[in-house]
């Protein structure tokens, strides 16, 4: 088993899947020269410019084009390079989810969205809740190279429209990744750590911070169950309820501000409905637009906030 970074896992998945299935093609801004963090490097050389397509800056039509291309038997991968670009194509994100229902055509369309970039509030704001509220669209926000490689394989072998959120803060993070292709299914969360005192439910780049917070909590002698959601739609309801039943003290984390985001509330309700006695705290992004530059990390739940969140929960009897 090799230990490889996130961006390389993406690149490997794209190479292997495009090799496997000639119906797959990829389009987006600047992908021929290698794309962001080299995720698409080598694809144009291997598969040619017909299947690896640089586009003009027209995100407003890419997903609609993907719908059309999928209707005639191809499997388009569309790359959007900023978190908020789905809004410029908002109606197409809605359309891709209902297109099969309304027309009968299968739409195996994969939209990869780079999130968490350091480019200010207009481009870098997380849309996890918006995207996971779209009917008929599967959404994944993996946090490890192992997860992303398997999620992309699942997406490219399924017949549903899919959005994969790839957070810049994770691009150089490493994990063990098998070289042969494998699938990581949608709707499946992953336990990162196991413990009996308190549960943390998290996804994407926030899980990276959770790993650091976890070390500190372990030093304090606290057992933490950490569930990484991986799939935001469908949610792994079984694992969410399983960890909630185990500790009955749950900290739900999000990369969106809680005043606007629906996803943490959905998880909250899911737990409360089945386990009314559960104590739940939520921690999201601060109520400040995302600043330009490295200070953006301050916006997301920080290590000490996560530690404190768990300590507060543990006080409940």
């Amino acid at each position: 088993m090799r230990n490889i970074p996130f961006y390389q896992a993406v690149n490997e998945a794209l190479h292997q899947e495009m090799e496997r299935d000639g119906a797959i093609f990829i389009m987006g801004s600047d992908i021929v020269f290698g794309g962001r963090a080299g995720m698409t490097s080598g694809l144009a050389e291997r598969f040619g410019r017909e299947r690896v397509i640089d586009t003009p800056i027209n995100e407003e039509i890419f997903v609609g084009m993907g719908i059309g291309a999928a209707e005639v038997g191809t499997r388009p991968i569309i790359e959007l390079v900023h978190s908020t670009l789905p809004l410029i194509a908002g109606i197409d994100f809605l359309r891709m989810g209902v297109w099969e229902w309304v027309s009968g055509a299968k739409i195996p369309l994969v939209v990869r969205v780079r999130t968490g970039e350091e480019v200010g509030p207009e481009l870098s704001t997380s849309l996890a809740s918006f995207l996971s509220s779209l009917r008929g669209v599967q959404v994944a926000a993996p946090s490890t190279p192992y997860q992303i490689k398997g999620i992309l394989a699942s997406a490219l072998r399924g017949d549903k429209p899919v959005v994969v959120l790839e957070n810049s803060g994770l691009f150089v993070e490493k994990s063990d990744v098998p070289h042969p292709p494998y699938m990581y299914p949608f709707g499946k969360g992953e336990y990162i750590f196991s413990g009996n005192d308190v549960s943390i439910i998290s996804y994407s780049v926030v899980t990276k911070t959770v790993r650091i917070a976890h070390e500190e909590l372990v030093r304090k002698g606290i057992g933490v169950d950490v569930l990484d959601l991986v799939s935001l739609r469908p949610l792994d309801e079984n694992k969410i309820l399983q960890t909630a039943r185990k500790t009955k003290k749950i900290l739900i984390l999000s990369d969106e501000s809680l005043s606007v985001a629906g996803l943490p509330y959905k998880i909250y309700y899911l737990i409360k409905e089945k386990i009314p006695e559960a104590k739940i705290h939520m921690l999201g992004a601060k109520e400040i637009p995302v600043p330009l530059g490295p200070l953006r990390e301050v916006i997301l739940p920080e290590t000490q906030e996560i530690v404190k969140g768990c300590m507060d929960l543990i006080k409940y009897k």
């Binding site: 299947r51 027209n58 407003e60 039509i61 609609g64 059309g68 999928a70 038997g73 055509a105």
Partner: protein
């Protein structure tokens, strides 16, 4: 614009119509007769309250161009149908009874009773769903053409959209990419001069075909109410698209004689009565009929037979469609998905 333009007259007078052209024009005529009578029937049924779906956009008097263009299409070409009339669907070979069943909201209808007849996908007939959202079908069209290119298929894509849609940025983004990537799309702007109640003079300074031309797209303007002229123009442009694998744009100038739709914006106070009278005289079906009679492609007896056959087909189809089962509440609930 003349009732019949010079070129068309010349073709008729000199008999410069090949057998294939004669066959094609007869097909166009039959389609126009059938779709005209069918639409008139649907409108009267809607006015009687026998149709519950509020999604009928009349194309009476502007359907000539559709019939001509679709007649040039092959089976493996893909059509994104027009919003107005059923002419383009009928012309692509889609069964009239399934169109009727959809209008009545029956579960065996084109869109299973859940949409409009033009919101289906059918590989068999080369039909792609027309979106409910104006101006985004061009994205689908570019995507289909790109997909066909990827799959090394020879088909081309025909996308009908109105001049109202043509002010959307998505349309021009799509046109640009079609030119840039050499995609075989026939862009047809059915320019009926009114975007709901707004006249084209309030939409754009330059005519749309000029804008399309500026993207490097072969672009023409045609009298959309002269089916023969549209046929010859479309035939030439189809040959160009097939040969060059590049897009082409046709500004089909026509006129909307009915209100925007049959239920919500029916009033026509914004249209000048003189203007309407002028365009009524340019009815494409009557124009074509006169042309075909003149060229001896049909005689009055044959024309009558075609109409009688159409009337009887429509009667049967409506009778059948009305008897089909409605999609029920329970069936709708069963369609629930992720």
């Amino acid at each position: 614009m003349a009732l019949i333009n010079f070129r068309t007259c010349f073709r008729l007078v000199t008999g410069a119509l090949s057998d294939a052209d004669k066959k094609a024009t007869l097909k166009i005529y039959k389609n126009l007769v059938l779709s005209r009578l069918f639409e008139e029937k649907i409108i009267s049924l809607a006015q009687e309250g026998r149709i519950k779906k509020h999604w009928i956009f009349s194309g009476l008097g502007q359907e000539g161009g559709q019939a001509s263009i679709v007649s040039v299409m092959k089976t493996d070409d893909w059509l994104i149908p027009s919003l107005r009339s059923y002419t383009s669907l009928i012309g692509k070979g889609y069964p009239l009874k399934l169109i009727a069943a959809e209008i009545f909201g029956k579960k065996d209808g084109a869109s299973k009773g859940l949409g409009a007849p033009f919101t289906l996908h059918s590989e068999k007939y080369g039909l792609a769903r027309r979106s409910d959202v104006v101006g985004v079908d061009c994205e689908t069209a570019v995507g289909i053409a790109l997909g066909l290119k990827q799959r090394k298929k020879s088909g081309i894509v025909v996308n009908f959209f109105g001049e109202g849609a043509a002010t959307r940025g998505t349309v021009w983004s799509s046109l640009n990419i079609s030119a840039l990537w050499k995609l075989p799309v026939f862009w047809v702007c059915e320019n009926n001069q009114y975007a709901v109640t707004t006249h084209i003079s309030s939409l754009t300074v330059e005519p749309f075909f000029k804008k399309a031309e500026s993207f490097g797209i072969l672009s023409k303007k045609v009298n959309g109410n002269d089916p023969l002229e549209v046929y010859f123009q479309a035939k030439g442009m189809f040959e160009y698209i097939r040969r060059e694998r590049k897009p082409a744009f046709l500004d089909l100038v026509t006129y909307r004689l009915m209100g925007h739709d049959l239920f919500y914006v029916t009033d026509q106070g914004y249209q000048n009565p003189k203007e309407m009278k002028k365009w009524r005289k340019r009815d494409p079906l009557r124009t074509l009929e006169r042309q075909l009679l003149f060229a001896g492609i049909v005689n009055s007896e044959k024309a009558k037979k075609i109409k009688t056959a159409a009337i009887s087909e429509i009667e049967q189809v409506i009778l059948w469609a009305e008897k089909q089962e409605d999609i029920t509440r329970e069936e709708l609930l069963k369609t629930s998905f992720l």
